[in-house]
């Protein structure tokens, strides 16, 4: 994990190395100051030597200036290294995600990827800065102060050593105990938040069933549990501060006692005693800092892990070595295809698929949710690789094509349509960057989008907001179809992408395909029989396999499910308001 992340430091290596060096320099300077101070007391004040005092004071100022420079340097380079590191992480993740096949996208989920790119990166950025600046500084400060103390007086310094060990053990134990409680606390917290979330989004249900008091009771119970867990965790932590203060104070008293004896016995000077008291504070404070750094690091470890997962994820689909750069025609052949999402999964999602589609044909695909319609068409543009058998496009196995070439020739309008921020024209030009406005209008006309686009005040220059919230579902679907048409694909796949378009318009779109784009192979997935009944071949998918292939008439006679579906949709259980949605 660390190796993967470390690779992303790249051009910020120098800054990453310089930062801790500056921090060490700063610490050394800081540690010299008490030493100089003790010299002022011993050799200056007690001997009445003014010149020595001036000299030492001058030296102190010099050290302070060096320390300042080092501190600023560390700060500036630390900022550069950590923000730069974060930049690289984001960029590399983003680039790698672009390489993902659908399999990997499904695996991480949209929300998961967004969190990794945003929150997790920020966490790691802060942790990295912490490592560069504090993680080196604190132990160094501890060690140097310790060395200084030993140089002054080994006897007293060993008291520090004992104190450090005592405090480190104490804090360590507390932290381990507290973390256990905190982990449980956060789980409960998440539960509580989930329950709030449910109440917010389902407020209509809560109110309709008059369950406000019931929900309140549920919430108060959960809130009470958090109270108890929170107390348990903080109970442990409440020992933290007293132990710290106890150790520091005990040290000061012991040093005072011992120090007095040593000074009287003339084995220690007054100035040295003052310096030792100073180092005592330094040592114990850096220990405390260190413990805090540790806590922060363990917390960002989870983020680091999630990031490295994305970085290490290899796409399961890559370009072949000598890719074919042209798709001959729109023929599609499935030969004994079996497919499952996870290689170690038990059952095939799709099995025994065999079909022969000729260029220019219109193919209807019909079947229930979860029967594998979308998966079936995703195999054509090689968003997934088949496990057994082969998929041929234009007479060649899809694995032989350059991925971009293949996907430019197989346009797929997805079930979940997405438009992007920008004008309608910008969105249409996703299909073809160089498309002229006329091209766009032509495609929009076929997709039956021209009329409503023209009715907007800004026409084709209308701005689409994020997520396409300012156009209706049916309009969005038609724009997406137009966008796909601009690719001038050899194969067009519509995955239930006219569901929000009324039947009359739907039928016009299909007529347009037939007359304007006769050579293009059209695959239409639909819940509506009316959308597929005039197709050259209709594929009925049931339980992940083609249960029947034929024309409308043939299927009516031979396929029970198809016949019953047709019966149901024409005799009353069809969608009534389809027509009302977009058409009128």
């Amino acid at each position: 994990m660390l190796k993967t992340l470390a690779k992303e430091i790249k051009q910020y290596k120098v800054a990453s190395i310089i930062t801790p060096l500056f921090m060490i320099l700063e610490v050394i300077c800081e540690m010299i100051i008490p030493r100089l101070m003790s010299s002022i007391v011993d050799d200056g004040v007690q001997k009445g030597d003014m010149n020595h005092i001036y000299g030492m004071a001058g030296l102190m100022v010099l050290v302070a200036v060096v320390s300042l420079a080092a501190g600023i340097g560390g700060g500036v380079f630390g900022a550069k290294a950590s923000t730069g590191f974060a930049k690289n992480l984001r960029e590399s993740m983003f680039k790698n995600i672009q390489k993902f096949s659908f399999k990997e996208i499904d695996k991480y989920s949209t929300a998961g990827l967004v969190t990794r790119l945003t929150t997790d990166v920020t966490n790691v950025q802060n942790a990295y800065q912490m490592i560069l600046r504090m993680f080196v500084r604190s132990p160094m400060s501890l060690i140097i102060a310790m060395i200084m103390a030993f140089m002054i007086d080994g006897r007293i310094a060993s008291v520090y050593l004992v104190a450090v060990i005592f405090l480190a053990t104490g804090l360590g134990i507390l932290m381990v105990l507290a973390m256990k409680h905190f982990r449980r606390l956060f789980e409960k917290y998440d539960k509580l938040n989930e329950s709030v979330q449910e109440n917010v989004s389902s407020i209509r249900v809560v109110k309709a069933y008059v369950r406000e008091d019931y929900e309140k009771e549920k919430f108060n119970e959960a809130s009470g549990a958090i109270y108890k867990l929170g107390l348990a965790a903080e109970k442990v932590l409440s020992f933290n501060n007293p132990i710290m203060i106890f150790t520091i104070n005990a040290c000061i008293l012991i040093i005072s006692w011992l120090g007095a004896h040593f000074i009287v016995a003339e084995t220690l000077t007054t100035g040295d005693l003052l310096a030792l008291l100073n180092y005592c504070m330094n040592i114990l404070f850096s220990l405390m800092m260190l413990s805090m750094v540790f806590v922060m690091l363990t917390m960002s470890a989870a983020s680091a892990k999630r990031i490295s997962e994305v970085l290490e994820q290899e796409s399961s689909i890559v370009n072949p070595e000598k890719p074919v750069m042209e798709v001959g025609n729109g023929d599609i052949v499935f030969k004994n295809v079996n497919f499952k999402y996870h290689d170690d999964g038990e059952n095939y999602v799709l099995s025994d698929l065999n079909v022969n589609i000729k260029s220019g044909q219109t193919i209807g695909v019909i079947g229930g949710t979860g029967t594998g319609k979308t998966t079936f068409v995703s195999l054509i543009s090689r968003f997934y690789d088949v496990n057994e058998g082969e998929v041929l496009v234009g007479g060649k196995n899809v694995r032989e094509y350059d991925l971009d070439v293949l996907r430019d020739n197989v346009a797929m309008v997805l079930q979940k349509n997405e438009l992007f921020t920008g004008t309608i024209l910008d969105n249409l030009r996703w299909g073809d960057e160089k498309a002229t406005e006329e091209d766009c209008i032509k495609a929009a006309k076929i997709a039956q989008a021209h009329d409503f686009v023209s009715s907007f005040p800004d026409g084709y220059n209308t701005k689409i907001e994020q997520g396409g919230t300012n156009v209706s579902g049916g309009q969005k679907q038609r724009l997406c179809i137009a966008r796909a048409l601009l690719k001038k694909p050899k194969i067009l796949i519509l995955d239930d992408s006219t569901s929000a378009v009324d039947t009359a318009t739907d039928s016009k779109i299909r007529t347009g395909f037939r007359t304007e784009l006769p050579d293009m192979t059209k695959i239409i997935i639909s819940q509506r029989i009316s959308s597929v009944m005039d197709a050259d071949q209709i594929i009925v998918i049931e339980d992940g396999t083609f249960s029947a292939i034929g024309t409308h008439e043939e299927l009516l006679k031979s396929n029970e499910m198809y016949a019953s579906l047709y019966e149901a949709q024409t005799s009353g259980s069809g969608d009534f308001d389809e027509a009302a949605k977009g058409g009128v």
Binding site: V196, G572, D575
Partner: protein, 638 residues
């Protein structure tokens, strides 16, 4: 200090200080809130703060007497007498002990105060939230509401448990150290104070510049995050259009911008610390120098021991100053959170002036009388103030709309002159395009939204007079977006009737056609549903919602039929379940299925908030109007 949540806060604390309109009013409210339950504890905490600061200052002062009064007199003596020193050390140890006990007590007390206050606050906020009208949830972003619970309450915790006590500690320390320093040497104190003022000015300048940079960083962060979200959501589209390279190029640009601004903002912040530290050191050096001279010349009785003590104080003096500014900005963050919490807590709950209640009833000698036991018969108990009498009206499910106009927002009416009559047991279907006003009508029936008096009547009673809870008890509702809760399947069904027996749950599930799929779940009826039933299919979730409505057994139903896109098998189950549920009940249905529409007693065709046609299927077909168009348009295509 090991609380992981604080890390997040730490990062936040580095951003610009938020603007709040009346910080003191909010502070007063929050503290009032804390004091309401924990005033004694909080006063005790303050006492502890004083005690531990005092102990600490005493300890530092001891350095002076250690050197001046004990060590130096003993120097050169043949047989040094350590008894006075021992006594002094024991005395200081006593102070320290008090300090440690005070620190412990402070931590303990604060823990009860914070956790308790937060629990109370959370409960009250949630309690109020449950009472808010649906309108509140329709007009506020759910993310904002959520963040009150996830972020703001947490920031407040930080403020109560850390920032305020820290601030008090810092102020007390500052005063105590200042007094001690003056006692030791007024002249040196002047130097220290001057340096601290310099420090404050410089860090104020720097944080102002940092604030600007942080605002810039925030803006570019927003731009990067927005792009990430959009691209991740559309990732499959990106792939199918081979748009990867263009996406990367655009992302790299925005990312670089973020790096530039983040780098600047962080650099400025990182520089503040060393500058302050070195100014502190400088102050230390000057004091050492001047103090050294004083001590040599015995200026005003200044001694070596006093120098030692003073130098330690000098360090302790700068610390609380920077602490105070840090804590104040943390408190401001807490207050901003507090403001949002109080906004939610103060939001006006649903008004309910209804007084007509729903009671169990039975018929005795032709009269309806109220009774305790469940009889299956319900009646509206109507108390007439003017006459001082109470009448009972049997609950039948008669709903009437008279000349109903309605607007969600002033000036944007969505319903015009709606006239409707539903007799008990009738089925009313609403038909029309999205935005025609179908959902709005149903919103008015269960008073999710209120309209002017007397326009909607239920069993002849003005619904504004009916207590909302009782009104809603008499109405069942199945929405198109099914909302389920993270509980077991059984508990979800029981949501409709909390005291239902297991048998009733099974019966409701069977009626809704949900029984067979539930039995196939890993733990049957005891299967836990994950967030909003994510582990079920859309159709299965609907079946559960139907079962939930069935168990409540209301006389009036509001149904929002699902549009297509569920598989045919489940769809037919859902359909059967819905039909079963509708039997014998007055039903308002936002219809999407032909069969539902055709079988309705009255079809209401809505367009742009107006009823344009009304009647049964045959009548409307004969009318050859809009309904005919819709119906045949569909039929032609098939």
């Amino acid at each position: 200090m090991a609380a992981p949540r604080q890390v997040k806060m730490g990062q936040r604390g580095r951003g610009p200080t938020p603007q709040i309109e009346h910080p003191f009013i909010i502070l007063k409210r929050i503290m009032g809130y804390v004091m309401k339950w924990y005033w004694l504890q909080y006063i005790f905490v303050i006492v502890c703060v004083f005690a531990s600061t005092f102990a600490n200052v005493q300890g530092t002062m001891f350095t002076k007497s250690l050197i001046d009064e004990y060590i130096i007199p003993m120097l050169g003596q043949q047989t040094a007498d350590y008894t006075p020193l021992l006594n002094a050390i024991l005395r200081v140890a006593g102070f320290y002990a008090i300090g440690i006990i005070a620190a412990f007590a402070q931590a303990r007390l604060l823990m009860y105060i914070t956790q308790g206050t937060l629990r109370n606050l959370r409960n009250e906020v949630f309690g109020n939230m449950e009472k808010l009208p649906v309108k509140y949830f329709d007009t506020h972003s759910h993310g904002d509401i959520m963040s009150v619970y996830t972020n703001d309450i947490d920031t407040l915790r930080q403020m109560i448990s850390q920032s305020i006590p820290q601030l008090v500690t810092s102020v007390v320390t500052l005063v105590a150290v200042f007094v001690s320093m003056i006692i030791l040497s007024p002249a040196l104190t002047a130097i220290s104070v001057a340096m601290v003022i310099l420090m404050t000015i410089i860090s104020a300048r720097l944080s102002m510049s940092a604030g600007k940079n942080f605002a810039k960083q925030q803006a570019s962060l927003g731009s990067v995050n927005g792009y990430i979200e959009e691209m991740m959501n559309g990732q499959k589209v990106v792939k199918s259009f081979c748009y990867e390279d263009k996406a990367i190029a655009e992302f790299t640009n925005r990312n670089e911008e973020l790096f530039q601004s983040a780098n600047k903002a962080n650099s400025v912040v990182n520089v503040v610390m060393p500058i302050n530290a070195q100014l502190g050191n400088l102050s230390y050096v000057i004091c050492a120098l001047v103090g050294g001279i004083f001590a040599i010349n015995g200026f005003g009785g200044f001694t070596v021991g006093a120098l030692g003590s003073f130098l330690t104080f000098n360090k302790q003096f700068a610390h609380p100053v920077s602490q105070i500014s840090m804590q104040i900005s943390a408190i401001m963050m807490g207050l901003a959170g507090g403001q949002r919490i109080f906004e939610l807590k103060d939001a006006k709950p649903e008004v309910d002036e209804g007084y007509v209640t729903l009671v169990n009833a039975k018929r005795e000698n032709g009269e309806i009388v109220e009774c305790k036991e469940r009889t299956g018969m319900w009646a509206w108990k109507h108390f007439h103030k003017a006459e001082g009498t109470t009448t009972y009206v049997e609950l039948k499910g008669n709903v009437e709309f008279h000349e109903v106009d309605f607007a969600y927002e002033e000036g944007h009416p969505v319903l015009f002159d709606v006239e409707l009559y539903a007799k008990p047991g009738q089925k009313i279907a609403f038909v029309g395009s999205t935005g025609a006003g179908k959902t709005t009508i149903t919103n008015l029936i269960n008073r999710f939204y209120d309209i002017a008096d007397g326009k909607v009547r239920y069993d002849g009673i003005n619904i504004n007079k009916i207590k909302k809870d009782d009104l809603r008890h008499s109405l069942g509702i199945v929405l198109q977006d099914t909302h389920l809760f993270s509980m077991t399947v059984k508990e979800n069904i029981r949501y409709g009737k909390l005291d239902a027996t297991d048998e009733e749950v099974y019966a409701a599930a069977k009626l809704a056609n949900a029984d067979s799929f539930i039995k196939h779940l890993p733990f049957g009826y005891d299967t836990m549903l994950e967030s909003d039933g994510a582990n079920l299919s859309q159709g299965q979730r609907q079946l559960l919602a139907i079962a939930r409505a069935a168990i409540a057994n209301p006389p009036v139903l509001i149904l929002d039929e699902a549009t297509s896109s569920i598989d045919t098998h489940t769809e037919s189950l859902v359909q059967k379940g819905m039909d079963e549920l509708m039997k014998g009940r007055t039903t308002f249905v936002i219809a999407h299925r032909l069969s539902t529409v055709k079988n309705s007693d009255c079809i209401v065709v809505l367009e742009k908030g107006r009823i344009i046609e009304k009647g049964n299927h045959d009548e409307l077909i004969a009318l050859k109007g809009k309904y005919y168009q819709l119906y045949t348009g569909n039929a032609i295509a098939q």
